[in-house]
Symmetry: C2
Protein backbone atom coordinates (compact mmCIF):
# COMPACT_ATOMS: atom_id res chain seq x y z
CA UNK A 1 0.00 0.00 0.00
CA UNK A 2 1.23 3.49 -0.84
CA UNK A 3 2.22 5.80 2.01
CA UNK A 4 0.32 9.03 2.53
CA UNK A 5 1.14 12.50 1.21
CA UNK A 6 -0.85 15.61 2.11
CA UNK A 7 -0.62 18.63 -0.19
CA UNK A 8 -1.94 21.89 1.24
CA UNK A 9 -2.73 24.92 -0.89
CA UNK A 10 -2.88 27.98 1.37
CA UNK A 11 -4.75 31.09 0.28
CA UNK A 12 -3.73 34.73 0.27
CA UNK A 13 -6.02 35.89 3.08
CA UNK A 14 -4.26 33.55 5.53
CA UNK A 15 -0.79 34.61 4.34
CA UNK A 16 -1.69 38.27 4.83
CA UNK A 17 -2.94 37.91 8.43
CA UNK A 18 -0.20 37.36 11.04
CA UNK A 19 -2.39 35.45 13.52
CA UNK A 20 -3.96 33.16 10.91
CA UNK A 21 -0.55 32.63 9.33
CA UNK A 22 1.07 31.51 12.59
CA UNK A 23 -1.85 29.19 13.34
CA UNK A 24 -1.72 27.77 9.82
CA UNK A 25 1.98 26.93 10.18
CA UNK A 26 1.46 25.37 13.62
CA UNK A 27 -1.40 23.18 12.35
CA UNK A 28 0.54 22.28 9.21
CA UNK A 29 3.67 21.27 11.15
CA UNK A 30 1.52 18.84 13.17
CA UNK A 31 0.60 16.80 10.06
CA UNK A 32 2.47 13.61 10.86
CA UNK A 33 3.18 12.35 7.32
CA UNK A 34 4.80 13.48 4.07
CA UNK A 35 3.57 16.96 3.27
CA UNK A 36 3.89 19.84 0.82
CA UNK A 37 2.70 23.47 0.91
CA UNK A 38 1.70 25.34 -2.25
CA UNK A 39 1.15 29.09 -1.91
CA UNK A 40 0.64 32.24 -3.93
CA UNK A 41 0.43 35.65 -2.31
CA UNK A 42 -1.60 37.90 -4.59
CA UNK A 43 -2.75 40.31 -1.86
CA UNK A 44 0.81 40.98 -0.66
CA UNK A 45 2.03 41.33 -4.27
CA UNK A 46 -0.74 43.83 -5.06
CA UNK A 47 0.16 45.88 -1.98
CA UNK A 48 3.81 46.15 -3.07
CA UNK A 49 2.75 46.95 -6.63
CA UNK A 50 0.65 49.88 -5.42
CA UNK A 51 3.54 51.11 -3.21
CA UNK A 52 5.81 50.98 -6.27
CA UNK A 53 3.29 52.81 -8.45
CA UNK A 54 2.24 49.81 -10.56
CA UNK A 55 -1.51 49.32 -11.00
CA UNK A 56 -2.61 45.67 -10.54
CA UNK A 57 -4.70 44.47 -13.51
CA UNK A 58 -7.10 41.55 -13.19
CA UNK A 59 -9.36 39.95 -15.82
CA UNK A 60 -11.86 37.28 -14.72
CA UNK A 61 -10.04 37.05 -11.38
CA UNK A 62 -6.72 36.33 -13.11
CA UNK A 63 -3.74 38.67 -12.93
CA UNK A 64 -2.35 40.29 -16.08
CA UNK A 65 1.40 39.90 -15.58
CA UNK A 66 3.63 42.41 -17.39
CA UNK A 67 7.38 42.34 -16.71
CA UNK A 68 7.23 44.75 -13.75
CA UNK A 69 4.35 42.78 -12.23
CA UNK A 70 6.32 39.57 -12.70
CA UNK A 71 9.28 41.06 -10.80
CA UNK A 72 7.00 41.89 -7.86
CA UNK A 73 5.43 38.41 -8.01
CA UNK A 74 8.90 36.83 -7.92
CA UNK A 75 9.99 39.08 -5.05
CA UNK A 76 6.91 38.45 -2.92
CA UNK A 77 6.05 34.81 -3.77
CA UNK A 78 9.56 33.27 -4.04
CA UNK A 79 11.19 35.78 -1.67
CA UNK A 80 9.20 37.35 1.14
CA UNK A 81 6.38 34.81 1.59
CA UNK A 82 8.26 31.62 0.72
CA UNK A 83 11.20 32.33 3.02
CA UNK A 84 8.95 33.51 5.85
CA UNK A 85 7.08 30.18 5.67
CA UNK A 86 10.32 28.17 5.51
CA UNK A 87 12.06 29.97 8.40
CA UNK A 88 8.97 29.71 10.61
CA UNK A 89 8.57 26.00 9.80
CA UNK A 90 12.23 25.49 10.74
CA UNK A 91 11.40 26.91 14.18
CA UNK A 92 8.60 24.32 14.42
CA UNK A 93 11.13 21.56 13.62
CA UNK A 94 9.66 21.00 10.19
CA UNK A 95 12.62 20.85 7.80
CA UNK A 96 11.18 22.77 4.88
CA UNK A 97 12.79 23.74 1.58
CA UNK A 98 11.36 26.61 -0.45
CA UNK A 99 11.03 26.17 -4.20
CA UNK A 100 9.82 27.93 -7.30
CA UNK A 101 9.07 25.94 -10.44
CA UNK A 102 12.53 26.84 -11.79
CA UNK A 103 14.41 25.26 -8.87
CA UNK A 104 15.52 21.77 -9.79
CA UNK A 105 13.42 22.23 -12.96
CA UNK A 106 10.41 21.44 -10.76
CA UNK A 107 7.62 22.84 -12.98
CA UNK A 108 8.08 23.48 -16.69
CA UNK A 109 5.39 25.57 -18.28
CA UNK A 110 4.58 27.34 -21.52
CA UNK A 111 3.68 31.00 -21.81
CA UNK A 112 -0.10 31.31 -22.36
CA UNK A 113 -0.98 32.11 -25.97
CA UNK A 114 -2.72 35.41 -26.62
CA UNK A 115 -6.37 34.61 -27.32
CA UNK A 116 -8.59 37.67 -26.88
CA UNK A 117 -6.78 38.46 -23.60
CA UNK A 118 -2.99 38.82 -23.29
CA UNK A 119 -2.22 37.57 -19.78
CA UNK A 120 1.47 38.42 -20.22
CA UNK A 121 4.05 36.33 -18.34
CA UNK A 122 1.60 33.63 -17.30
CA UNK A 123 2.49 29.96 -17.68
CA UNK A 124 0.37 26.88 -18.32
CA UNK A 125 1.94 23.78 -16.77
CA UNK A 126 3.54 21.22 -19.08
CA UNK A 127 5.52 18.95 -16.76
CA UNK A 128 6.08 18.35 -13.03
CA UNK A 129 9.49 16.92 -12.09
CA UNK A 130 7.94 14.32 -9.77
CA UNK A 131 11.20 12.37 -9.32
CA UNK A 132 12.89 15.47 -7.86
CA UNK A 133 9.98 16.09 -5.48
CA UNK A 134 9.96 12.40 -4.51
CA UNK A 135 13.69 12.52 -3.69
CA UNK A 136 13.21 15.61 -1.49
CA UNK A 137 10.34 13.95 0.41
CA UNK A 138 12.47 10.82 0.80
CA UNK A 139 15.14 12.99 2.42
CA UNK A 140 12.54 14.07 5.01
CA UNK A 141 12.27 17.56 3.55
CA UNK A 142 8.97 19.43 3.37
CA UNK A 143 8.73 21.38 0.09
CA UNK A 144 7.14 24.83 0.22
CA UNK A 145 6.31 25.68 -3.38
CA UNK A 146 5.37 29.14 -4.65
CA UNK A 147 3.19 29.86 -7.66
CA UNK A 148 5.95 30.51 -10.19
CA UNK A 149 7.04 28.21 -13.01
CA UNK A 150 9.57 28.52 -15.84
CA UNK A 151 9.76 27.73 -19.54
CA UNK A 152 13.32 26.23 -19.51
CA UNK A 153 14.26 29.11 -21.85
CA UNK A 154 15.23 31.44 -19.02
CA UNK A 155 11.80 32.93 -18.39
CA UNK A 156 9.94 32.75 -15.07
CA UNK A 157 6.15 32.62 -15.41
CA UNK A 158 3.32 33.45 -13.02
CA UNK A 159 1.07 30.39 -12.57
CA UNK A 160 -2.15 29.85 -10.64
CA UNK A 161 -1.43 28.25 -7.25
CA UNK A 162 -4.62 26.14 -7.23
CA UNK A 163 -3.58 24.60 -10.55
CA UNK A 164 -0.01 23.97 -9.32
CA UNK A 165 -1.43 22.20 -6.25
CA UNK A 166 -3.71 19.94 -8.29
CA UNK A 167 -1.06 19.14 -10.93
CA UNK A 168 1.50 18.28 -8.25
CA UNK A 169 -1.12 16.15 -6.50
CA UNK A 170 -1.77 14.26 -9.74
CA UNK A 171 1.95 13.76 -10.47
CA UNK A 172 2.69 12.53 -6.93
CA UNK A 173 -0.18 10.00 -7.03
CA UNK A 174 2.32 7.75 -8.81
CA UNK A 175 4.18 7.36 -5.51
CA UNK A 176 1.70 8.21 -2.77
CA UNK A 177 -1.86 8.02 -1.59
CA UNK A 178 -2.47 11.78 -2.04
CA UNK A 179 -4.85 14.00 -0.07
CA UNK A 180 -5.23 17.55 -1.36
CA UNK A 181 -6.46 20.28 0.97
CA UNK A 182 -7.44 23.77 -0.16
CA UNK A 183 -7.14 25.93 2.92
CA UNK A 184 -8.65 29.45 2.87
CA UNK A 185 -10.63 31.82 5.09
CA UNK A 186 -14.00 30.02 4.85
CA UNK A 187 -14.85 26.68 6.38
CA UNK A 188 -15.96 25.16 3.07
CA UNK A 189 -17.92 25.81 -0.10
CA UNK A 190 -20.84 28.01 0.91
CA UNK A 191 -24.34 27.75 -0.51
CA UNK A 192 -25.02 31.32 0.65
CA UNK A 193 -22.08 33.78 0.53
CA UNK A 194 -23.62 35.75 3.41
CA UNK A 195 -23.75 32.79 5.76
CA UNK A 196 -20.60 31.10 7.02
CA UNK A 197 -22.66 28.18 8.29
CA UNK A 198 -24.11 27.34 4.86
CA UNK A 199 -21.32 24.88 4.10
CA UNK A 200 -22.11 22.02 1.77
CA UNK A 201 -20.48 18.94 3.33
CA UNK A 202 -19.98 17.11 0.04
CA UNK A 203 -20.03 18.12 -3.61
CA UNK A 204 -20.11 15.61 -6.45
CA UNK A 205 -19.36 16.48 -10.06
CA UNK A 206 -23.05 16.23 -10.94
CA UNK A 207 -24.06 18.50 -8.07
CA UNK A 208 -21.32 20.95 -9.03
CA UNK A 209 -22.77 21.36 -12.54
CA UNK A 210 -26.22 22.07 -11.12
CA UNK A 211 -24.82 24.54 -8.54
CA UNK A 212 -23.03 26.42 -11.34
CA UNK A 213 -26.23 26.45 -13.45
CA UNK A 214 -28.15 27.77 -10.45
CA UNK A 215 -25.45 30.45 -9.93
CA UNK A 216 -24.87 29.28 -6.35
CA UNK A 217 -21.24 28.51 -7.22
CA UNK A 218 -19.63 31.27 -9.27
CA UNK A 219 -16.44 33.26 -10.08
CA UNK A 220 -13.17 31.90 -8.62
CA UNK A 221 -14.82 28.88 -7.03
CA UNK A 222 -15.62 27.44 -10.49
CA UNK A 223 -12.00 26.90 -11.70
CA UNK A 224 -11.04 25.81 -8.15
CA UNK A 225 -13.64 23.03 -8.22
CA UNK A 226 -12.86 22.14 -11.84
CA UNK A 227 -9.24 21.63 -10.71
CA UNK A 228 -10.53 19.33 -7.97
CA UNK A 229 -12.53 17.08 -10.30
CA UNK A 230 -9.61 16.98 -12.75
CA UNK A 231 -7.35 15.84 -9.90
CA UNK A 232 -9.78 13.19 -8.64
CA UNK A 233 -10.15 11.82 -12.18
CA UNK A 234 -6.36 11.53 -12.42
CA UNK A 235 -5.36 9.58 -9.35
CA UNK A 236 -5.70 11.95 -6.40
CA UNK A 237 -7.35 10.16 -3.49
CA UNK A 238 -9.17 12.78 -1.43
CA UNK A 239 -9.84 16.51 -1.68
CA UNK A 240 -11.13 18.86 1.01
CA UNK A 241 -11.83 22.61 0.98
CA UNK A 242 -11.99 24.52 4.26
CA UNK A 243 -10.36 26.77 6.83
CA UNK A 244 -7.36 26.22 9.13
CA UNK A 245 -9.09 23.31 10.88
CA UNK A 246 -8.89 21.04 7.82
CA UNK A 247 -5.17 20.63 8.37
CA UNK A 248 -5.80 18.43 11.41
CA UNK A 249 -9.46 17.37 11.21
CA UNK A 250 -12.03 17.07 8.44
CA UNK A 251 -15.16 17.56 10.52
CA UNK A 252 -16.14 20.99 9.22
CA UNK A 253 -15.34 21.37 5.54
CA UNK A 254 -16.41 20.44 2.03
CA UNK A 255 -15.33 17.10 0.62
CA UNK A 256 -15.15 16.94 -3.16
CA UNK A 257 -16.01 13.61 -4.73
CA UNK A 258 -16.62 12.36 -8.27
CA UNK B 1 41.68 11.70 -4.01
CA UNK B 2 38.78 14.07 -3.38
CA UNK B 3 36.79 15.30 -6.38
CA UNK B 4 36.73 19.00 -7.17
CA UNK B 5 34.19 21.61 -6.09
CA UNK B 6 34.26 25.22 -7.27
CA UNK B 7 32.44 27.83 -5.20
CA UNK B 8 31.89 31.18 -6.90
CA UNK B 9 30.92 34.33 -5.03
CA UNK B 10 29.49 36.82 -7.51
CA UNK B 11 29.43 40.52 -6.71
CA UNK B 12 26.65 43.06 -6.95
CA UNK B 13 28.06 45.04 -9.87
CA UNK B 14 27.83 41.94 -12.10
CA UNK B 15 24.30 41.11 -10.93
CA UNK B 16 23.16 44.65 -11.70
CA UNK B 17 24.48 44.74 -15.30
CA UNK B 18 22.49 42.65 -17.80
CA UNK B 19 25.40 41.98 -20.17
CA UNK B 20 27.90 41.07 -17.43
CA UNK B 21 25.23 38.95 -15.74
CA UNK B 22 24.51 36.89 -18.89
CA UNK B 23 28.24 36.41 -19.51
CA UNK B 24 28.79 35.40 -15.89
CA UNK B 25 26.08 32.72 -16.11
CA UNK B 26 27.42 31.41 -19.42
CA UNK B 27 30.98 31.16 -18.06
CA UNK B 28 29.73 29.61 -14.83
CA UNK B 29 27.65 26.97 -16.63
CA UNK B 30 30.80 25.87 -18.50
CA UNK B 31 32.59 24.87 -15.27
CA UNK B 32 32.69 21.12 -15.78
CA UNK B 33 32.66 19.96 -12.15
CA UNK B 34 30.61 20.31 -8.96
CA UNK B 35 29.82 23.97 -8.44
CA UNK B 36 27.98 26.41 -6.20
CA UNK B 37 27.09 30.11 -6.60
CA UNK B 38 26.90 32.45 -3.62
CA UNK B 39 25.38 35.88 -4.24
CA UNK B 40 24.13 38.98 -2.47
CA UNK B 41 22.56 41.85 -4.35
CA UNK B 42 23.05 44.99 -2.30
CA UNK B 43 22.81 47.43 -5.21
CA UNK B 44 19.46 46.05 -6.38
CA UNK B 45 18.16 45.97 -2.79
CA UNK B 46 19.19 49.60 -2.25
CA UNK B 47 17.40 50.64 -5.45
CA UNK B 48 14.15 49.04 -4.31
CA UNK B 49 14.56 50.55 -0.85
CA UNK B 50 14.82 54.03 -2.33
CA UNK B 51 11.77 53.40 -4.55
CA UNK B 52 9.84 52.33 -1.43
CA UNK B 53 10.98 55.37 0.54
CA UNK B 54 13.40 53.53 2.84
CA UNK B 55 16.85 55.12 3.25
CA UNK B 56 19.71 52.55 3.04
CA UNK B 57 22.04 52.87 6.04
CA UNK B 58 25.63 51.64 5.89
CA UNK B 59 28.33 51.66 8.59
CA UNK B 60 31.89 50.60 7.64
CA UNK B 61 30.54 49.21 4.37
CA UNK B 62 28.05 47.02 6.22
CA UNK B 63 24.28 47.40 5.94
CA UNK B 64 22.16 48.29 8.98
CA UNK B 65 19.19 45.95 8.59
CA UNK B 66 15.95 47.04 10.25
CA UNK B 67 12.80 44.96 9.65
CA UNK B 68 11.74 46.87 6.52
CA UNK B 69 15.25 46.58 5.09
CA UNK B 70 15.26 42.86 5.84
CA UNK B 71 12.00 42.42 3.89
CA UNK B 72 13.55 44.11 0.85
CA UNK B 73 16.71 41.99 1.22
CA UNK B 74 14.60 38.82 1.33
CA UNK B 75 12.55 39.94 -1.69
CA UNK B 76 15.54 40.87 -3.83
CA UNK B 77 18.17 38.30 -2.72
CA UNK B 78 15.99 35.17 -2.26
CA UNK B 79 13.33 36.26 -4.77
CA UNK B 80 14.27 38.43 -7.73
CA UNK B 81 18.01 37.72 -8.05
CA UNK B 82 18.06 34.10 -6.91
CA UNK B 83 15.23 32.98 -9.19
CA UNK B 84 16.61 34.95 -12.13
CA UNK B 85 19.94 33.13 -11.75
CA UNK B 86 18.23 29.73 -11.38
CA UNK B 87 15.87 30.13 -14.36
CA UNK B 88 18.68 31.37 -16.61
CA UNK B 89 20.95 28.49 -15.53
CA UNK B 90 18.13 26.06 -16.35
CA UNK B 91 18.17 27.45 -19.89
CA UNK B 92 21.92 26.72 -20.01
CA UNK B 93 21.20 23.10 -18.96
CA UNK B 94 22.66 23.67 -15.52
CA UNK B 95 20.17 22.15 -13.07
CA UNK B 96 20.32 24.76 -10.33
CA UNK B 97 18.37 24.97 -7.08
CA UNK B 98 18.04 28.31 -5.30
CA UNK B 99 18.48 28.39 -1.54
CA UNK B 100 18.50 30.75 1.39
CA UNK B 101 20.11 29.69 4.66
CA UNK B 102 16.67 28.74 6.02
CA UNK B 103 15.98 26.19 3.25
CA UNK B 104 16.84 22.71 4.47
CA UNK B 105 18.31 24.44 7.54
CA UNK B 106 21.34 25.21 5.35
CA UNK B 107 22.93 28.01 7.40
CA UNK B 108 22.12 28.58 11.05
CA UNK B 109 23.28 31.90 12.43
CA UNK B 110 22.95 34.06 15.51
CA UNK B 111 21.79 37.67 15.52
CA UNK B 112 24.80 39.95 15.97
CA UNK B 113 25.09 41.36 19.49
CA UNK B 114 24.82 45.10 19.85
CA UNK B 115 28.34 46.39 20.51
CA UNK B 116 28.63 50.13 19.82
CA UNK B 117 26.75 49.61 16.52
CA UNK B 118 23.34 47.91 16.26
CA UNK B 119 23.40 46.17 12.88
CA UNK B 120 19.80 45.00 13.33
CA UNK B 121 18.76 41.74 11.66
CA UNK B 122 22.28 40.64 10.76
CA UNK B 123 23.45 37.10 11.45
CA UNK B 124 26.84 35.63 12.27
CA UNK B 125 27.18 32.07 10.98
CA UNK B 126 27.12 29.24 13.52
CA UNK B 127 26.68 26.10 11.41
CA UNK B 128 26.60 25.02 7.76
CA UNK B 129 24.46 21.94 6.99
CA UNK B 130 27.19 20.38 4.84
CA UNK B 131 25.45 16.99 4.60
CA UNK B 132 22.42 18.61 2.95
CA UNK B 133 24.63 20.49 0.48
CA UNK B 134 26.60 17.30 -0.21
CA UNK B 135 23.38 15.38 -0.97
CA UNK B 136 22.22 18.09 -3.40
CA UNK B 137 25.57 18.05 -5.23
CA UNK B 138 25.41 14.25 -5.34
CA UNK B 139 22.03 14.57 -7.07
CA UNK B 140 23.75 16.66 -9.78
CA UNK B 141 22.11 19.86 -8.59
CA UNK B 142 23.94 23.20 -8.62
CA UNK B 143 23.04 25.22 -5.50
CA UNK B 144 22.58 28.98 -5.93
CA UNK B 145 22.78 30.39 -2.42
CA UNK B 146 21.71 33.92 -1.44
CA UNK B 147 23.12 35.90 1.47
CA UNK B 148 20.38 35.19 4.00
CA UNK B 149 20.60 32.88 7.01
CA UNK B 150 18.22 32.02 9.87
CA UNK B 151 18.39 31.54 13.62
CA UNK B 152 16.17 28.40 13.76
CA UNK B 153 13.81 30.50 15.92
CA UNK B 154 11.82 31.74 12.92
CA UNK B 155 13.97 34.78 12.12
CA UNK B 156 15.71 35.36 8.79
CA UNK B 157 18.99 37.27 9.07
CA UNK B 158 21.00 39.26 6.56
CA UNK B 159 24.53 37.83 6.29
CA UNK B 160 27.60 38.91 4.35
CA UNK B 161 27.89 36.92 1.10
CA UNK B 162 31.74 36.82 1.18
CA UNK B 163 31.57 35.20 4.62
CA UNK B 164 28.90 32.71 3.51
CA UNK B 165 31.10 31.74 0.56
CA UNK B 166 34.18 31.16 2.72
CA UNK B 167 32.30 29.29 5.47
CA UNK B 168 30.64 27.01 2.90
CA UNK B 169 34.03 26.45 1.27
CA UNK B 170 35.50 25.43 4.63
CA UNK B 171 32.57 23.12 5.47
CA UNK B 172 32.66 21.41 2.05
CA UNK B 173 36.43 20.78 2.28
CA UNK B 174 35.44 17.70 4.27
CA UNK B 175 34.14 16.13 1.04
CA UNK B 176 35.87 17.96 -1.81
CA UNK B 177 39.03 19.58 -3.05
CA UNK B 178 37.57 23.12 -2.88
CA UNK B 179 38.47 26.11 -5.04
CA UNK B 180 36.90 29.42 -4.03
CA UNK B 181 36.57 32.21 -6.60
CA UNK B 182 35.54 35.77 -5.74
CA UNK B 183 34.22 37.21 -8.98
CA UNK B 184 33.66 40.97 -9.22
CA UNK B 185 34.16 43.87 -11.64
CA UNK B 186 37.96 44.12 -11.33
CA UNK B 187 40.47 41.63 -12.63
CA UNK B 188 42.13 41.17 -9.24
CA UNK B 189 43.39 42.98 -6.17
CA UNK B 190 44.75 46.31 -7.40
CA UNK B 191 47.84 48.02 -6.05
CA UNK B 192 46.58 51.33 -7.47
CA UNK B 193 42.80 51.89 -7.48
CA UNK B 194 43.16 54.16 -10.52
CA UNK B 195 44.87 51.54 -12.67
CA UNK B 196 43.08 48.36 -13.72
CA UNK B 197 46.39 46.86 -14.79
CA UNK B 198 47.99 47.16 -11.36
CA UNK B 199 46.87 43.67 -10.35
CA UNK B 200 48.99 41.83 -7.83
CA UNK B 201 49.24 38.24 -9.10
CA UNK B 202 49.71 36.69 -5.70
CA UNK B 203 49.15 37.83 -2.14
CA UNK B 204 50.45 35.96 0.90
CA UNK B 205 49.28 36.57 4.44
CA UNK B 206 52.54 38.33 5.26
CA UNK B 207 52.28 40.59 2.20
CA UNK B 208 48.63 41.32 3.06
CA UNK B 209 49.58 42.68 6.47
CA UNK B 210 52.17 44.97 4.95
CA UNK B 211 49.76 46.16 2.22
CA UNK B 212 47.20 47.02 4.91
CA UNK B 213 49.84 48.88 6.95
CA UNK B 214 50.86 50.77 3.81
CA UNK B 215 47.16 51.60 3.15
CA UNK B 216 47.36 50.04 -0.32
CA UNK B 217 44.66 47.55 0.69
CA UNK B 218 41.78 49.19 2.55
CA UNK B 219 38.04 49.28 3.26
CA UNK B 220 35.97 46.33 1.97
CA UNK B 221 39.01 44.48 0.59
CA UNK B 222 40.35 43.93 4.13
CA UNK B 223 37.51 41.69 5.44
CA UNK B 224 37.35 39.99 2.01
CA UNK B 225 41.02 38.99 2.24
CA UNK B 226 40.74 38.09 5.92
CA UNK B 227 37.94 35.68 4.90
CA UNK B 228 40.30 34.21 2.32
CA UNK B 229 43.15 33.51 4.76
CA UNK B 230 40.67 32.08 7.28
CA UNK B 231 39.39 29.72 4.57
CA UNK B 232 42.89 28.66 3.45
CA UNK B 233 43.83 27.95 7.08
CA UNK B 234 40.77 25.73 7.43
CA UNK B 235 41.00 23.32 4.53
CA UNK B 236 40.12 25.31 1.39
CA UNK B 237 42.54 24.43 -1.39
CA UNK B 238 42.75 27.45 -3.68
CA UNK B 239 41.37 30.99 -3.73
CA UNK B 240 41.28 33.45 -6.62
CA UNK B 241 39.92 37.00 -6.89
CA UNK B 242 39.13 38.47 -10.30
CA UNK B 243 36.60 39.31 -13.00
CA UNK B 244 34.40 37.09 -15.19
CA UNK B 245 37.44 35.40 -16.75
CA UNK B 246 38.40 33.61 -13.53
CA UNK B 247 35.44 31.28 -13.98
CA UNK B 248 37.23 29.51 -16.83
CA UNK B 249 40.88 30.55 -16.64
CA UNK B 250 43.12 31.85 -13.91
CA UNK B 251 45.59 33.75 -16.06
CA UNK B 252 44.61 37.28 -15.06
CA UNK B 253 43.66 37.45 -11.42
CA UNK B 254 44.98 37.49 -7.86
CA UNK B 255 45.76 34.19 -6.19
CA UNK B 256 45.60 34.24 -2.40
CA UNK B 257 48.06 31.96 -0.58
CA UNK B 258 49.16 31.48 3.00
Amino acid sequence: MKTKLTIVKVGGVILDDNLLFEEFLKNFSLINENKIIVHGGGIIASNYMIRLGIIPKMVNGRRITDSKTLDIAVMTYAGLINKKIVSKLQKLNCNSIGLSGADGNLIKSKIRKVNKIDYGFVGDIEKINDEFLFSLLNSNLTPTICSLTHDKKGQLLNTNADTIASEIAIAMSKYYNVTLKYCFDKSGVLMDQNSNTSIKKNITKKEFKKLVDDKIIYEGMIPKLENCFHALENGVNKIYIGDLDILNTIKHCTKITL
